[in-house]
């Protein structure tokens, strides 16, 4: 597509489009829907289904719109009688090989074939019916494939290929061809990750969620757009509910990606280890109790523990909402008088908050979307669909690369993403700052980036000067890279228009992580790029903004004056301790929320421990009081995703337990200790968050010259995925097994 506009005529309507736009997408953008069965938005048209035929003035015969591009003076008709007849013929032929069981078909109502047959008034095929009696693949608990419904549109093949999973393909040829796996193996014998992208792409009933049958027809389902909080990718999801139960979870956008956990783990809502009522330990055993009793026991303990606030801690997973995070830290700071408030984000990322505070005064987001990126730089991020670490980020990067974007991977290890990299810079362990400095030095010295493309940033001239006076050879030697490789990577950067840099725990958990992040921000400012800090949990940026950290106050406030006034109390002065120290024990009182990643046999970290959790986990096993919390798709509130954007969570189903959200519990405890919160409903918290805890709107980046250093340490990164399910830190290799258990639970 170019920036040039062309004028064309569609069905008598004169319209302007960018030149070279796909005709189906262009028509849709002005409200003209050209029927199709095989077209995927933002992907090259393949002309497989022949439904999108249109008349083009000057062409001998009708042609497929999805394989044509907008050009000056084009005149097309999308709905003439001739065109309708051709489309009827296509539907007639497809129906001759498609079961006509719309009355029990789970796809009725969202089936594209059904819709088109209706629109064109084709009741049945004039050719009779042919069936190959293909075997159904229901080998796994997630996805069922029935090739007898398949209309060979190839959408599933293309989404699977574009995201580089490469499981489904056309096999055989002609009328007997079939979309299936290598050697027609069942899905569970292939490398399939059960992400279900094929499922969202299938326009008919050939690929379906296992167990979806007879669980409700499409028009009976109530859909809620919310956000998955199972990992740092925080994907938008669409939850379908009927009679209070989740029926399916899909991606709200066509041709987007959500992973198997986000799509299928809703069975864990009613898993056996779900905490359904408050429990108090008596005689060594956890016994069910009432909320009133539980709150009384906790507040009594807290009232006495408050006399020594340095020994009280509040710790939550970074998958809690902003509202939860805000109220929890307020309970700590304003009511108990301690800065011992933190989230699990500090276990795997000790760099993002300090570095961004220095550079922006807040965690800044990206203004562009990954779908616009033509160059992606991956720094210390081992995202992988297969190991189930940030799977959606892996898939999105791979899709972008399939679409022509370049990828530079900066990683000492042969990570899975590197297999699709345009350039893999295998730097020496911990030398990220040197490698980035080398790149900047080449870019500046060889005049590969002009000043116009730089982001607005204070002190950039100093960074540029430092780069131009540094020794490329020495920096490359430090980083263990060849000058030639660095130059090639720099040239890729020079050619790019929208570069985006992703980083994660591979750098942010290291002891020189702050410098690495600042250096990455320098590079990004220099080349007019965007930096995306990706945490392992959904709300890493949000918990920092809300002040659920000993290092930040709500809204990244520089001092506590405004807060003290609003909260009508003095703020504690003593520095607080972080997650690692809290989990190491020695406290009088610890309030733990969500999935705290402790291993089996973990010893009780405080004299009195409260675990506010969705599922029984190793941490909760040590607790004196266990409280039920709303789980993913039951939560309400907001989070800030890795783009720095505020996303709303809407409860899609009534919680499958007698829950209280962490923000509610924090307010209850504050009130019971005599602090007036003025919080009754979630909106009260949201209002307070808007007044006191929203990060400043626009800030200009301040760059700082970084002296390259060697970093060590790897935090939690080494322990892999933080993606949780059924209340435990998941061993990637066991995830399918666990999910299957959840399905049968």
């Amino acid at each position: 597509m170019s920036d040039k506009l062309v004028t064309m005529e569609i069905d008598g309507l004169t319209v302007q489009f960018p030149e070279g736009m796909n005709l189906v997408d262009a028509a849709r953008s002005v409200g003209i829907n050209i029927p199709n069965l095989c077209h995927l938005e933002h992907m090259r048209g393949v002309g497989a289904c022949r439904m999108c035929v249109v008349e083009v003035e000057g062409m001998r015969a009708p042609n497929t719109a999805c394989t044509m591009k907008t050009k000056e003076g084009m005149k097309i008709k999308t709905d003439s009688e001739q065109i309708k007849d051709l489309r009827r013929m296509v539907i007639d032929l497809i129906l001759s090989m498609h079961p006509l069981d719309c009355m029990t078909c789970p796809k009725a109502g969202v089936c594209w074939l059904q819709d088109l047959a209706y629109q064109l008034d084709v009741k049945d095929s004039a050719y009779g019916r042919k069936s190959f009696d293909f075997e159904i693949d229901d080998s796994n608990g997630f996805i069922e494939r029935d090739p007898n419904y398949c209309i060979l549109c190839g959408k599933c093949v293309r989404v699977c290929t574009a995201q580089n999973t490469n499981i489904l393909e056309f096999m055989g040829r002609g009328v007997g061809s079939k979309v299936t796996t290598e050697r027609d193996k069942p899905l569970n014998e292939t490398d399939c990750t059960f992400c279900g992208s094929c499922l969202d792409a299938c326009p008919v009933n050939a690929i379906l969620e296992s167990g979806r049958r007879l669980k409700g027809r499409e028009w009976e389902l109530f859909k809620t757009d919310t956000v998955c909080t199972l990992c740092g990718a925080a994907c938008p999801i669409d939850v379908s509910e009927k009679d209070g139960k989740v029926v399916k979870i899909t991606s709200p956008k066509p041709n987007a990606f959500i992973c198997a956990a986000g799509r299928f783990s809703y069975d864990s809502l009613a898993a056996k280890n779900r905490v359904t009522t408050p429990m108090i330990r008596s005689n060594g055993e956890l016994k069910e109790t009432s909320w009133v009793e539980a709150i009384k026991v906790i507040s009594d303990k807290l009232a006495s523990a408050r006399s020594n606030p340095a020994k009280v801690g509040i710790l939550a997973s970074a998958a809690v909402t902003n509202e939860d995070a805000y109220m929890l830290q307020k309970l700590g700071r304003a009511v108990i008088g301690t800065n011992n408030v933190d989230s699990t984000a500090s276990l795997y990322d000790t760099s993002t908050v300090p570095a961004y505070q220095k550079a922006f005064g807040k965690i800044a987001g990206a203004e562009r979307c990954i779908t616009e990126a033509d160059l992606i730089i991956v720094l210390g991020m081992n995202a992988s669909q297969w190991s189930r670490t940030l799977p959606a980020i892996d898939a999105k990067i791979r899709k972008q690369v399939s679409g022509g974007a370049k990828l530079i991977v900066l990683d000492p290890a042969e990570i899975k993403l590197a297999e699709v990299a345009t350039k893999h810079l295998k730097l020496a362990e911990g030398t990220d700052t040197s490698a980035l400095a080398a790149l900047m030095a080449v870019l500046v010295k060889e005049k590969l980036v002009n000043k116009n493309r730089a982001n607005k940033a204070k002190g950039l001239a100093d960074v540029r000067n430092a780069a131009s006076s540094s020794d490329v050879a020495a920096l490359c030697a430090e980083a263990g890279l060849s000058e030639e490789d660095v130059k090639e990577a720099a040239e890729l950067i020079a050619k790019s228009k929208v570069p985006m840099l992703f980083y994660s725990t591979g750098v942010s958990a290291k002891d020189n992580g702050v410098d690495t992040v600042l250096q990455a921000l320098n590079l990004s400012a220099l080349i007019g790029g965007q930096v995306l800090p990706v945490g392992l949990e959904a709300n890493m940026a949000g918990v920092a903004a809300m002040g659920l950290s000993p290092l930040t106050l709500p809204g990244f406030a520089a001092d506590g004056k405004k807060l003290a006034k609003a909260w009508k109390t003095d703020l504690p002065e003593a520095a607080g301790i972080g997650a690692r120290e809290m989990l190491n024990g020695g406290l009088d009182f610890l309030y733990g929320v969500g999935d705290l990643p402790v291993s089996e046999g973990y010893e009780k970290p405080a004299e009195f421990v409260v675990a506010h959790v969705t599922h029984m986990n190793e941490f909760a096993k040590t607790a004196d009081v266990v409280l039920p919390s709303p789980a993913f798709v039951e939560q309400e509130g907001s989070i800030i995703n890795y783009y720095g954007r505020m996303k709303m969570l809407w409860s899609a189903v009534e919680p499958a337990a007698d829950v209280m959200a962490p923000w509610q519990m924090a307010a209850e405890l504050a009130e019971s200790l005599g602090y007036k919160t003025k919080v009754d409903i979630l909106d009260d918290v949201t209002e307070e968050v808007e007044k006191l805890a929203l990060p400043p709107e626009k800030t200009t980046q301040t760059t700082s010259v970084i002296t390259p250093s060697k970093g060590t340490g790897s935090g939690l990164a080494a322990s892999g995925s933080m993606m949780t399910l059924s209340g435990s830190v998941i061993d990637a290799s066991k995830v399918s097994e666990l999910m299957r258990q959840a399905v049968t639970a």
Binding site: N166, M171, G172, E182
Partner: protein, 161 residues
């Protein structure tokens, strides 16, 4: 074919000058299938896996490409390939009987191979000598005007091969 050490540029030849890397590796597939099959008489899964890894092509695509062509086989084939013509003329002159006799004798269905890999039984559309119907081929040889005696000869030659 030494799959680990394929010299992609050498195998692809002069046309490689105008192809990019992806086009070269994909373009090499059918050539490699033919070579592999001539050596092993079918395309074993392990060989295709090694080929896919060497060329950096996913297995789904490797199988998709190979399965498009009728000339490629994914299961071992027999030492002797017997193809019974079921074209119109042969059908009229008793191809059905020829086929069922062979099936019974060797205990295989159409398209199958005997357990001892001595023989594969297939059918064919027409071999172009309808005047000799019913016709069958044994490997490259054509046997025409098949009667009881000739069937026994076919059976004998398979067993002796």
């Amino acid at each position: 074919m030494d799959l680990k050490n394929i010299d992609i540029n050498k195998e692809i030849g002069a046309v490689g000058d105008v192809l990019n890397q992806e086009q070269k590796t994909k373009g090499l597939l059918i050539h490699a299938f033919q070579k592999l099959q001539s050596e092993m008489n079918y395309l074993p899964e392990e060989a295709l896996k090694a080929l896919g890894e060497k060329l950096n092509i996913p297995m789904s695509f490797v199988y998709s490409t190979a399965s498009f062509y009728k000339q490629f086989y994914f299961n071992p084939r027999g030492k002797t390939i017997v193809k019974v013509c079921t074209g119109t003329a042969c059908h009229v002159r008793g191809a059905g009987e020829v086929l069922s006799e062979l099936k019974e004798e060797f205990g295989v269905e159409e398209g199958e191979t005997t357990e001892d890999l001595s023989m594969t039984l297939e059918t064919v559309g027409c071999v172009g000598c309808c005047g000799l119907a019913p016709v069958a081929t044994i490997n490259e040889d054509v046997i025409g005007e098949i009667d009881d005696e000739r069937i026994n000869e076919i059976i004998q030659s398979v067993k002796e091969a």
